[in-house]
């Protein structure tokens, strides 16, 4: 028989990880925790993050030599999926997935940074998008060079975890013009540097998103990750890891919304019948379940490919993100409709799912972006 880590089903370790994560999150971070965070004006709960560090989740992609658990991308996807089910808010994707993946490619110099991520002491944000759509090559922000110093000037429009992160990965232009995939450089800098203004955005998902305005923020050549003018290459593994994990989160979210909805269909009575006995609703629920099943395969595959053949992961990752964005959209739309009026009320949890699904669909590339990647790869 094949080694389970080569298949699309969970290994024994992964089954245990999933069970443990589901159990922990149900206790520590039910959807009501997101509501509490929102009502308290807090993007996420630092105590939850500390617990995640304790369990090794913050170091899921950090090598053991830097204090990480090094469980791999499939495991990171399973954690993200479970977080998605209950809408657990944390800097997990920005820090433990994207930044950790970028930094572990950066050689011995990044060892210290990886240690702080695994320990949960530092959290990262990725400052990339300058417009309303994901388009790394369109980066225009200037990094003006004077000797070994670079001065960053410009605005990053939509930065997840941007107000709470202690460090920021910034993609800026050191040569070429906007639209050129070359000439970009990736910097790792302290979020409290002079000249960096972090403006919180009040986004629909009640999480930490910020606009980062850079006014001649001074960094040095030592802060460069990867090579000068080749920042997109240094960033790509992190982006792919983040896209795959975000896709997993969205799929978990879809599953969570579908489970709540199914529970409601089995309980709510109208016309003297449980509404779940109506075939019109049964077929919609069954179709939704089918879509989630199909997407779950793309999620498992993306994790496996990132673990086993990371240099060849573009198609698998885009497939996961494209499918997940659509499936989450379907799940939350169906959830609201099948709940009826109560689904529209703030007091009921389903609204949180629809909001996070919309944000997750946009971040790191929407359906159209990733479908186009697949189309290009498949001769369409």
């Amino acid at each position: 028989m094949k080694d389970a880590a080569q298949t699309l089903i969970d290994t024994e370790d992964e089954v245990m990880l999933r069970d443990a994560a589901r159990g922990f999150l149900a206790e520590a971070s039910p959807v009501s925790a997101l509501r509490a965070n929102r009502d308290a004006g807090r993007a996420h709960d630092p105590a939850l993050w500390a617990d995640m560090a304790q369990m090794g989740w913050t170091g899921v992609l950090v090598p053991e030599t830097a204090g990480g658990a090094d469980m791999g991308h499939r495991a990171a996807g399973i954690l993200a999926e479970e977080m998605g089910r209950v809408l657990a808010a944390s800097p997990f994707l920005s820090s433990a997935v994207i930044a950790a993946t970028v930094l572990r490619q950066a050689g011995p110099a990044a060892q210290g940074a990886l240690q702080t991520i695994a320990a949960g002491r530092a959290t990262y944000a990725l400052a990339l998008d300058e417009g309303p759509k994901f388009a790394p090559a369109a980066t225009a922000m200037q990094a003006e060079r004077q000797g070994n110093t670079f001065r960053l000037t410009g605005t990053k429009a939509f930065v997840a975890d941007g107000t709470t992160a202690s460090r920021v990965l910034v993609l800026a232009r050191t040569s070429g013009a906007a639209g050129d995939p070359e000439g970009l450089t990736l910097f790792d800098l302290d979020a409290s540097l002079a000249g960096l203004d972090r403006q919180a955005l009040s986004t629909i998902d009640s999480r930490d998103h910020a606009r980062l305005v850079f006014d001649a923020v001074a960094v040095t050549g030592d802060d460069i990750i990867g090579d000068l003018d080749n920042g997109l290459v240094a960033l790509r593994p992190g982006l792919q890891a983040g896209q795959a994990a975000l896709a997993a989160e969205l799929t978990g979210l879809a599953g969570g919304a579908a489970a709540i909805t199914l529970g409601y269909l089995k309980e709510r009575k109208q016309f003297d019948r449980t509404i779940g006995s109506f075939q019109a609703l049964q077929h919609r629920a069954a179709h939704l379940w089918s879509e989630i099943e199909v997407t779950a395969s793309a999620i498992a595959n993306a994790g496996r490919v990132l673990d086993n053949a990371p240099d060849d992961a573009a198609l698998a990752v885009s497939l996961a993100k494209a499918r997940a964005a659509q499936t989450a959209k379907l799940a939350v739309s169906e959830a609201v409709q099948m709940h009826g009026g109560i689904g529209m009320t703030d007091a009921y949890d389903i609204g949180f799912f629809i909001k996070r699904a919309r944000v997750g669909a946009e971040w790191l590339g929407d359906y159209g972006y990733h479908a186009a990647v697949i189309g290009a790869a498949r001769g369409i």
Partner: protein, 392 residues
């Protein structure tokens, strides 16, 4: 590399060399369609000698039924080996040496429910392509409600006497034997009075005639049974428990139809058609977006087939989730063919035009979500058995 990985790599090298050495060159890389299928059977004539040579060589190595036990003419391969075999067949452009309902359906049923004599009698003839089987399930009054079959088998002491009518019996006019659902107890609840019976199509009293479909000629037939005498030993499994076998086989059939397996759904890809139109239609943004969406869903569905197979291999059955594969796969296939017809434009409108038989294939796809259980029945199964939603 682990020992297991090494062994599989060796197997791949071996089987790949075997395919190159044994599949006649004239068969390699040919477009795969209904006309290139080898079905076998008493009435079969090969389109060319190379097809016969290829079948004989594959039979010798047990590769017409790669996973069946060697004693019945199978190859005794593991699932991992079978997957490698299929991959190498695809890579070499080699066609399946034999396809048949015996391989896909009756064989698995006999392996699970048949007695030793039945296995020894029928399985080797299936693997060698000597006997061609057809399936007698649906009746005029038993479509989606399959358990309503009324074809009667009366116990006459030393034989069964079968009377009734079957419909949608694919290739019944070409087949040598039929496996059928017959009613053996008219007083029991309808699921509990059905038995699974094997009959030689040459038995006096069996007649069959083809049904023409919107796609032109079709493999479907009506088959009539008029006081047909059937030996007692041709009942498979327990008396009145045929529904269990039917359900088991329907699961197989659904996975097969849903998965586009065995060429039932057609092997064309959207990219192929686009390439044939020399990229001209790629300029249509609506069609292009639709093509990308279809490709996204097709890739994800392919991975789902793979994941379910992995699950089955790990000893956890797929069960009622096969209804999802059937539902999703057939609906997706209909979408693909709509898209291909739109891409082909007026070149696709002739019965046999620039794209070969694209139009009849497209018409034929409309049956995919009806045969083997309609999409609506599949959604019912998912709702009731997977999601455990309440009954009416």
């Amino acid at each position: 590399m682990s020992d297991a990985t090494e062994a599989l790599a060796a197997f791949r090298a071996d089987i790949s060399a075997w395919i190159k050495d044994n599949c006649p060159a004239s068969l390699l890389g040919r477009a795969f369609n209904e006309n290139s299928i080898v079905w076998g059977g008493r009435k079969w004539s090969f389109a060319n000698d190379d097809q016969r040579i290829w079948l004989e060589r594959a039979v010798k190595r047990g590769l017409t039924a790669p996973r069946w036990p060697v004693e019945f003419g199978g190859g005794g391969l593991s699932r991992a080996q079978e997957k490698i075999f299929r991959e190498e067949m695809t890579a070499a452009g080699a066609p399946p040496p034999l396809q048949s309902f015996g391989l896909w359906m009756l064989g698995p049923a006999l392996l699970e429910f048949g007695n030793d004599a039945q296995k020894a009698e029928h399985l080797p003839k299936i693997t060698r392509g000597e006997i061609r089987w057809c399936q007698g399930y649906s009746e005029p009054g038993a479509g989606s409600d399959l358990a309503n079959v009324q074809t009667r088998a009366e116990d006459m002491g030393d034989h069964w006497l079968v009377s009734g009518q079957k419909i949608w019996t694919s290739y019944a006019d070409q087949a040598d034997w039929i496996f059928a659902l017959v009613r053996t107890d008219r007083d029991a609840p309808k699921h509990k009075g059905i038995s699974f019976m094997l009959m030689d199509m040459d038995t006096p009293g069996i007649t069959t005639r083809p049904i023409r479909l919107i796609s032109g000629k079709s493999p479907f037939c009506e088959t009539f049974f008029d006081n047909v005498k059937v030996p007692k030993e041709q009942l498979v499994g327990e008396l009145n428990r045929g529904w269990d076998i039917a359900k088991y086989l329907l699961t197989h059939e659904r996975e097969m139809i849903g998965g586009g397996g065995q060429g039932l759904l057609g092997a064309r890809s959207v990219a192929q058609i686009i390439a044939m139109q020399e990229g001209e239609l790629l300029a249509d943004p609506v069609l292009r977006a639709e093509a990308m969406q279809t490709e996204v869903d097709t890739l994800a569905f392919g991975l789902t087939m793979e994941r379910y197979k992995d699950q089955a291999e790990a000893g956890r059955g797929v069960g009622n989730a096969s209804a999802m594969l059937k539902y999703y796969g057939t609906e997706l296939n209909k979408r693909r063919y709509e898209l291909m017809m739109a891409t082909a434009g007026s070149d696709g409108l002739e019965w046999d035009g620039a794209h070969g038989g694209l139009a009849p294939e497209w018409l034929r796809t409309k049956a995919n979500s009806i045969e083997g259980g309609t999409s609506e029945v599949m959604l019912d199964i998912i709702a009731k058995r997977v999601l455990e939603m309440p009954g009416q």
